[in-house]
């Protein structure tokens, strides 16, 4: 670690430059925030001015003129249900791959990781056909199973790299005490994987929360789908009502922002673990 040094003049220059850059990065978000509290007339007349009063009519209109509430419920349900199932399924698979090495699990590791290269756009047409075959096209189950399947690759990478840092001794003690492999995993190992599970839920959950194409194409049309899909459809529909769309964007950003502020370290851990191996 670096020793604490006395600040010199170039430290002040660097600070000023960073403040400027941070402002540029933050500006589009501030722009969205201020526009959400301005009337449409104000947005058009002077786009860069601050709102003159705390104007909340946009949010009222948003809920009155569209079924945005349903969209919020759908977004929350898709994200929560998928993540709960992912955390039930993926760590178990990674555990078997890391702790019970054999030719089978070795091949499986390669097989799972290969999926990271396959773009969703390649297989979406056949996927939808398959969903129709299983009668889950047009239901919430369609995106959920697809999100779980799509999380296996990155999840295996993340959990396998983390499992290498978890000591074996406690598991072995549990096994000697007659604990079944299933119980050993859930009672002994899984609680130790907390930080990894945090990273997985947060990074993967953010992807689902922000996803557009899957819910847009799979969920039934004629009704509200998810927050992201609603915002995209507003852009086409209410070309003249930017105020309403900005209110929607703020509602979509706030939950992600709160989660980020509360669980920052998990973001950093997950990204670096994912980046470490590509």
């Amino acid at each position: 670690m670096k020793a604490v040094k006395k600040p010199r003049w170039h430290d002040f220059v660097l600070l000023l430059v960073l403040i400027l850059i941070a402002f540029v990065f933050l500006y589009p978000l501030l722009f969205a925030l201020q526009s959400a509290f301005k009337s449409n007339g104000e947005i058009l007349k002077n786009p860069i001015s601050l709102p003159t009063s705390l104007y909340v009519q946009n949010f009222r209109d948003l809920f009155e003129q569209s079924d945005f509430f349903t969209a919020i419920v759908h977004s929350v349900l898709l994200t929560v249900v998928s993540e709960v199932l992912i955390i039930f399924i993926v760590p178990m698979a990674a555990y078997a791959i890391d702790r019970r090495p054999s030719r089978f699990t070795g091949l499986l590791y390669t097989f799972f990781l290969a999926g990271m290269m396959v773009p969703f756009h390649l297989y979406m047409f056949p996927l939808f056909k398959e969903m129709k075959f299983f009668h889950i096209f047009g239901t919430m189950a369609g995106p959920v199973v697809s999100y779980i399947a799509g999380s296996v690759s990155f999840g295996t990478l993340l959990y396998c790299s983390f499992l290498k840092t978890v000591p074996l001794e406690i598991e072995e003690a549990a096994r000697i005490d007659g604990c079944s492999p299933f119980k050993t995993f859930w009672r002994v190992t899984f609680p130790l994987l907390g930080p990894c599970t945090g990273s997985m839920v947060i990074l993967n959950g953010l992807g689902i929360w922000n996803d557009y194409l899957m819910p847009y194409l799979v969920l039934p049309s004629g009704k509200a789908k998810t927050i992201t899909v609603e915002i995209a459809s507003f852009v086409g529909q209410y070309t003249a009502r930017w105020d309403i769309v900005f209110a929607g964007t703020i509602i979509s950003i706030v939950p992600a922002l709160l989660i980020f502020l509360m669980f920052q370290k998990y973001f950093v851990k997950g990204i670096t673990a994912g980046g470490a191996k590509g």
């Binding site: 990065f25 786009p47 399924i89 078997a96 054999s102 396959v118 922000n210 557009y212 995209a232 980046g275």
Partner: protein, 298 residues
């Protein structure tokens, strides 16, 4: 990891039970549709009709001869290279700045990461409004500071459209790569740095001869990641330009989507997807080669 020799006579039923749910879902909803897309790429399937006609290599022949695919390929390359170069340059500079700043390291890191949190659709919408010719924040700002001459139809000017979409993606992605670079910079030992400083190496010498070689692995990974992510850009194009004006911002992925869903040619669409997959596999292979050759040197 120590490889234990497993008993050959019995398959590991416990391991099988543990991996079964993941294996079944991944097999059914990732691998099976991927494999069947190879099959559909040789058909004239429209996505709805139960009758699927085999057309041999016709889709691939069309891909490599049609002007529309050529245009989409060109757009994709411009967008992807633009994003990757600037995203990495900016992310690395941000990481160095955040690593060296005396005050508020965590605050800066968080702020620069914020754009990563928002969805592609929302980022596209915000910038679309900022770019707007009559009512946008950018033109309004330019007029206010007396640079009215630079006022543009940022997305409508076909020379700028792709780059303006690229700017949104760089803004949204740089914070992500910055985090990975920051982790890479932790591996640069301060002892070596101080020794070099005592020996009289200047800041730029230290950067090019110590920092860069030590984080070259991180650089290779980030560059490949941003190339692959650049190839897959969809949401911003969909909300900002819908591939237009004309075909100016139609990329491979956008072409795939449009022919598949708007023009009812999913057979052709999957063939485009297969070509995309091969481009991604190629990029990954090149990355692995690069990483290996570096490992040998160190």
């Amino acid at each position: 990891m120590t490889m234990q020799k497993n008993n050959k006579q019995k398959p590991d039923l416990v391991a099988l039970a543990f991996v079964a749910p993941a294996l079944i879902l991944y097999g059914l909803f990732v691998i099976l549709p991927t494999i069947s897309s190879f099959y559909y790429s040789f058909t004239s399937w429209d996505g709805i009709s139960p009758i699927i006609n085999f057309v041999g290599f016709a889709n691939y022949r069309e891909i490599f001869t049609s002007a529309r695919f050529g245009n989409a390929l060109r757009n994709t390359l411009i967008l992807t290279v633009f994003i990757s170069v600037f995203e990495n340059a900016i992310a690395l500079m941000l990481a160095l700045a955040v690593d060296h700043v005396h005050w508020g390291k965590n605050v800066f890191r968080s702020i620069l990461y914020l754009p990563v949190l928002i969805s592609g659709i929302v980022s596209g919408f915000i910038w679309k409004i900022m770019y707007n010719y009559n009512f946008g924040a950018i033109n309004s700002f330019l007029k206010n500071v007396g640079m009215g001459g630079s006022v543009q139809d940022w997305l409508g000017n076909t020379k700028l459209t792709l780059l303006m979409i690229g700017v949104v993606l760089i803004w949204k992605g740089a914070g992500y790569y910055m985090i990975i670079y920051l982790a890479g910079l932790q591996s640069v030992s301060t002892d070596v740095m101080e020794a070099a400083q005592i020996d009289g190496a200047g800041a730029s010498q230290r950067f090019w001869h110590i920092t860069m070689p030590l984080i070259s692995g991180t650089f290779t990974i980030n560059f490949t990641l941003s190339l692959i992510n650049g190839l897959k850009v969809f949401d911003q194009i969909s909300v900002m330009t819908d591939g237009g004006p004309g075909f100016t911002s139609e990329t491979i992925v956008y072409l795939l989507y449009k022919v598949g869903f708007n023009e009812g040619r999913q057979g052709f669409g999957t063939a485009v997807g297969v070509v995309l997959l091969f481009i991604i596999i190629l990029l990954n292979t090149v990355q692995q080669k690069f990483l290996r050759s570096r490992e040998v040197q160190i």
